[in-house]
């Protein structure tokens, strides 16, 4: 019995109607093992982000099955998916997606509030997370006052608030310079090594290869056969 902690089986999904119909995924099967960092690569339009959306319970496949924490999410209602996402999954986005009106610490605290409800110590916990990422002097800065690298570190801190076991990252280094990008790669790798999280990164950035346990390459909605020595 394969580990279905995080997996897709024969997932197919299309968007649009008639001539405008786009088959984003054409029977994709992949398993993402616990405590690994998987890199999903491929050209634009290959279906990388669609795959990430399926894994994050943001989309449902037309056919096939998605497993999160061993649960087939296709059979869950929208609210059950929301609960599953809240408890198990966290996201890091290319565009950071920080709430512009909140300070760095409040953004992280909000992540905690969403996952664990309102807690008296959520500001203390948010502070600790930001300190871990070297943002102790930027706690009360709004996102507009942070550099792109700092924004992404705040976004990662928010994603880790509440300790979700799965982290899905969509082009997390695309908006960053080389140094900031490398820092983000190291942070996410350390989440695998130190905290045993399962991380899936969608990226064009080849730097990720040295941090990934495995690489999946998508092409035209299908997983490209691996070169010898690699496994999907």
């Amino acid at each position: 019995m394969p580990d279905r902690f995080l997996a897709v089986e024969e997932a197919r999904i299309s968007f649009g109607e008639g001539d405008a119909r786009v088959r984003a995924l054409r029977g994709v099967s992949a398993t993402f093992e616990r405590g690994t960092l998987s890199l999903v690569m491929g050209p634009s339009g290959s279906g990388k982000t669609t795959l990430l959306s399926l894994l994050g319970c943001l989309l449902s496949p037309d056919e096939g099955t998605v497993f999160v924490d061993g649960v087939a999410v296709n059979e869950l209602s929208a609210s059950e998916k929301t609960v599953l996402r809240r408890k198990k999954i966290s996201f890091v986005f290319q565009a950071f997606r920080l709430l512009h009106s909140l300070s760095a610490i409040d953004n992280v605290a909000l992540g905690l509030e969403i996952r664990d409800g309102r807690r008296a110590d959520q500001i203390v916990m948010a502070r600790e997370l930001l300190l871990q990422f070297g943002l102790g002097d930027k706690l009360n800065r709004e996102p507009s006052g942070l550099s792109p690298g700092e924004k992404q570190r705040v976004a990662i801190a928010r994603a880790l608030a509440g300790n979700p076991p799965i982290l899905l990252a969509d082009e997390p280094t695309a908006s960053l310079d080389a140094e900031a990008g490398r820092s983000i790669c190291q942070i996410l790798r350390s989440q695998v090594d130190k905290n045993g999280r399962t991380v899936v990164v969608v990226s064009h950035d080849p730097r990720w290869k040295e941090f990934a346990d495995r690489t999946i390459t998508l092409s035209d909605g299908q997983i490209k056969p691996q070169a010898q020595g690699q496994h999907a």
């Binding site: 929301t82 996201f91 709430l99 409040d106 969403i114």
Partner: protein, 372 residues
């Protein structure tokens, strides 16, 4: 809900625009509502000013301002009906008023017996310390510029009869566009050429031990040629006549309804736009696992904050505007309950608008978070 507050105060210009939108709606509705309420009150002011329970009018009279003569026997017959303990008379008709400077002006002449009630504008007031002759003429302060008397008393002419304007009163400014003059019934009848014993309106006071509706039924049987209405019925009839059957009244009613609808649309649009400004953030919250209740609460709190701030600002703007408007439109009236209702209503409108807009926030595709 720190996020709700922070979202509002972070972008102050947008918050200001939202609050201004709501306050404009509140101002518009209160102002138009005051026009309508004032108009309705003015349309039945004389009827409501009397203490009597029943009004007898000529058949088909629609409003106090358009009465017709009743014969003396109608009053005598009414006085004989069991339960009727007191009668009084009132009349109103247009007359030609010659000012001290010789210019002429059409006026609404209102005459009434002195027993009609403390609030009815008649020269003889039992409680007053002022010396008023029974035949004195009174006018409302809002008509001062049209009456054009330099000092009081002033000798003038009404329908060719000599008359004395002796006092200025307040609270009886009309919407007819002509000034009103008030005098005793006897005096008014003389100016208007009505027989001294005839009446235009016969008012009846019903004894406390009798039912007004029973007496009214009895009167209708005995006086089939006239209309017998309770004070409330005649006031309602008069209000409906003015607001439905006259162009001015219909315009005010339409303006009030439109004001309400426009206010509703402005509030809805403003709150909706405010929600849509943050739609990307709601998508992010949903992607992070926020429940529908969590997102809805943020939208609702934001809407209520904007609604409360907009209501306060709108009501603050209404105060000086109404003060100024009253100098131009004496009958405009803002009852104490109108601003109160408006605050509740605006919060309700904001809540409803937020429910409409929250749908967008709740149905937003969380998958859009991946679109850079």
């Amino acid at each position: 809900m720190k996020l709700a507050w922070q979202n509002i105060f972070h972008d102050r210009s947008r918050f200001l625009a939202t609050v201004l939108g709501v306050s404009f709606a509140v101002f518009l509705i209160v102002f138009q509502g005051s026009l309508l309420v004032g108009f309705l009150q003015a349309a039945s002011r004389f009827i409501n000013a009397s203490d009597f329970d029943i009004w007898i009018t000529a058949r088909g009279v629609q409003a106090f301002e358009f009465g017709a003569t009743l014969e003396a026997r109608e009053r005598e017959m009414a006085a004989g009906v069991p339960g009727v303990v007191e009668t009084g008379r009132a009349c109103m008709a247009f007359a030609v008023y010659r000012k001290p400077n010789g210019k002429q002006q059409v006026v609404a002449l209102v005459g009434a017996d002195s027993n009609l009630g403390k609030r009815f504008p008649v020269p003889e007031l039992a409680e007053t310390t002022e010396s008023r002759s029974p035949d004195a003429i009174l006018y409302d302060a809002s008509d001062r510029s049209l009456i054009e008397v330099a000092s009081l008393p002033a000798e003038v002419e009404i329908n060719g009869h000599r008359a004395n304007i002796e006092h200025e009163i307040e609270g009886f400014g009309g919407f007819l566009g002509v000034p009103s003059l008030f005098t005793s019934y006897r005096n008014a009848a003389r100016y208007l050429g009505v027989g001294p014993d005839d009446g235009m309106y016969v008012l009846l006071r019903v004894g406390k031990e009798y039912s007004v509706s029973d007496v009214q039924r009895n009167l209708r049987q005995r006086l089939p040629e006239v209309d017998v209405l309770t004070r409330e019925e005649f006031a309602h009839k008069s209000r409906m006549y003015w607001v439905i059957k006259t162009g001015a009244g219909s315009a005010i009613l339409t303006a009030a309804v439109l004001g309400f609808l426009i206010g509703l649309v402005v509030v809805s649009q403003t709150i909706y736009a405010n929600t849509m400004e943050n739609i990307e953030e709601y998508a992010t919250l949903k992607a992070l696992g926020a429940s529908r209740v969590f997102v809805a609460r943020i939208v609702l709190i934001q809407s209520l904050i904007c609604g409360a701030a907009g209501s306060i600002l709108g009501l603050l703007a209404v105060v000086p505007a109404m003060h100024y408007a009253r100098s131009l439109i004496p009958w405009i009236h803002t009852p104490w309950w109108l601003p109160l209702i408006m605050v509740v209503l605006s919060l309700l409108m904001c809540s409803l608008a937020s429910i409409a807009s929250v749908r967008s926030a709740l149905t937003v595709d969380p998958g859009r978070v991946f679109r850079a």
